[in-house]
Amino acid sequence: MAKEFWKKHENLYYAITNKKVIFGLTIFILVILLAIFGPMLTPYEYDEYAGAPYSPPSRQHLFGTNIMGQDVFTMTVYGLRTTLIVGLIAGTIATIIGCVVGFLAGYYGGSWFDEILMSLTNIFVVIPQLALLIILSAFLEVRGIMVMSIIVSATAWPWLARAVRAQTLSLRNQDYVNLSRISSLKVPRILREDIASNMFSYIFMSYILQFNGTMLATVQLEFLGLGPTKGISLGLVMQNAVNWNAIQLGMWWWGIIPGLILTVMITALYFVNTGLDAAFNPRLREM
């Protein structure tokens, strides 16, 4: 019974037995758990005076306190939540827009429709991302999580759209698509088995990359003071640390620990990404 299940879903089997995927996913899940349950582990609020300022990591204050006596651990876990949510929403929006535009342009490749969609995409590609983000963010005085996500995703989708279009174009003309057509396969089945499934791993991995990219872009904006106007975020913690000369004053825990968590999480996702590549592509499997 179990054997049959794995035979049918062998991609899944290869994915969850891949060492890189296991390693990356474990770290990623730990970070997620930290974001979900972290706030329950701390007795403090992120903006209250929690203890003696300037104290290094200890049992009471896991990541130490900052110059105002706020608990860095509390700020980090709350900030992680915001950053993850913005990254997730923005990554999802960017992936959906990228796939829809890319799939349509590829499917109607060579037509006016394709030409218009690609012109639009090219315009977005040459817009300097950071400059647009700064202008957009500065223009909107009140910025919530949703607005942040839309701003970030606006510049994240074009590369995916171009890549998906190119993939669709080449897949559409593959001989195995032709063989399915002369085998009278129904169009939805051709799209599913011949086109989408050959692109699925690519899209899934792009999603991970998008998630990474949007998270970094979010932190970048927050670091420049253009993040959500209310609440706390990883970038904001780091911005404050820099503004208060934390490193020069010897409070390394204030800026370095949140940055390190972000780095570790993004590296873990890259591991998942490369591991999945091997799992999804039979040619990269070791037989």
């Binding site: 037509s111 006016w112 195995y176 032709n178 063989l179 002369i182 085998s183």
Partner: protein, 307 residues
């Protein structure tokens, strides 16, 4: 019309022009004004150099691309009128193809068995003896079922994949088979076996084969009729023996002269000039201006001029 019914397939004034780009479109003429008939139970070979439009004709017949102009009739019926799903299914049940590149013809994510599953799923064949029949056709093409079924395409060689595709075509009882460079990836010993199998099938079951090739020897070995293509046009057609013995068109003549013979080494004195062929063809058309596509003998037609 009665003539078209007798032929299993008739191609009339078929042309295909590919267009690329929207703002400054570029046009590529792949097939121009091609007409021919296929009688039941015959093998007809389509011979020409790369880019001469052979594969395009195959794809047009398989309804994978639309013709720019001209008609294709299958048993007297214009295939452009086949739009309905069920009609199309009936058409593909009887008209099948084998593509040039066996590696590209298999979806890399699925096991090779999928090509058999697909036809069983869509054409409603009796599934009770499925395994038996598949084993039988695999043995017909010299494959060991245990060593091929259940494998991924990348685990098999080009020749094995090509034979799987031939087996797929054998499994279906087709009227017309379009075989694009069918045995290009097979070794010499298997080749003859597969060719003989094809000839046997045409004789037994009345299947017609359009054998697309650039190999003149193969064309002669297997086909009853030959079509010589040059730059998208049909330049000479008719009885294979007649064309091979007394070619008329300068391109056909050049083609036969350029076949390396067994037992003959290359000669440094001999020069091959592609420009010369173009010149010869132009001159030939000029000399015979006004004649068009005309008979040069019984069942032997030559394109004398393009006007």
């Amino acid at each position: 019309m009665s003539e078209q019914v007798q032929n299993v397939m008739s191609v009339r004034n078929l042309s295909k022009v590919f267009k690329s780009g929207v703002f400054k479109p570029k046009y590529t003429v792949a097939v121009q004004d091609v007409s021919f008939d296929i009688k039941p139970g015959t093998i007809i070979s389509l011979i020409g150099e790369s880019g001469s439009g052979k594969t395009t004709i195959g794809k047009l017949i398989l309804k994978l691309i639309k013709p720019s102009s001209g008609k294709i009739y299958y048993k007297g019926k214009d295939i452009e009128e086949i739009r309905n799903k069920d009609e199309l299914k009936e058409y593909y049940k009887k008209v099948q193809g084998i593509f040039q590149d066996p590696f590209a013809t298999f979806n890399p994510l699925y096991r090779v068995d999928r090509i058999f599953d697909m036809i069983y799923d869509s054409f409603g064949y009796d599934k009770s003896n499925k395994e038996e029949r598949i084993h039988q056709v695999l043995q017909d093409v010299n494959l060991v079922p245990e060593r091929t079924l259940g494998k991924f395409p990348h685990q098999l060689s080009g020749g094995q994949l090509q034979r799987l595709l031939i087996a797929r075509a054998l499994l279906m009882d087709v009227d017309v088979l379009i075989a694009d460079e069918l045995i290009s990836m097979l070794d010499a010993s298997t080749r003859i076996g597969v060719l003989n199998l094809l000839v046997e099938l045409t004789e037994k079951k009345g299947m017609s084969v359009i054998f697309i090739t650039h190999d003149l020897n193969l064309g002669y070995y297997i086909s009853d009729e030959s079509l010589i293509m040059y730059k998208g046009r049909l330049v000479e057609s008719g009885d294979t023996k007649k064309i091979y013995e007394s070619p008329v068109h300068p391109y056909t003549k050049m083609l036969f002269n350029s076949v390396p013979e067994i037992g003959k080494r290359w000669d440094p004195e001999e020069e091959f000039l592609p420009e010369q062929v173009i010149k010869d063809v132009e001159e030939f058309y000029k000399e015979n201006a006004g004649k068009g596509f005309a008979a040069a003998g019984e069942n032997h037609y030559v394109l004398y001029s393009i006007d």
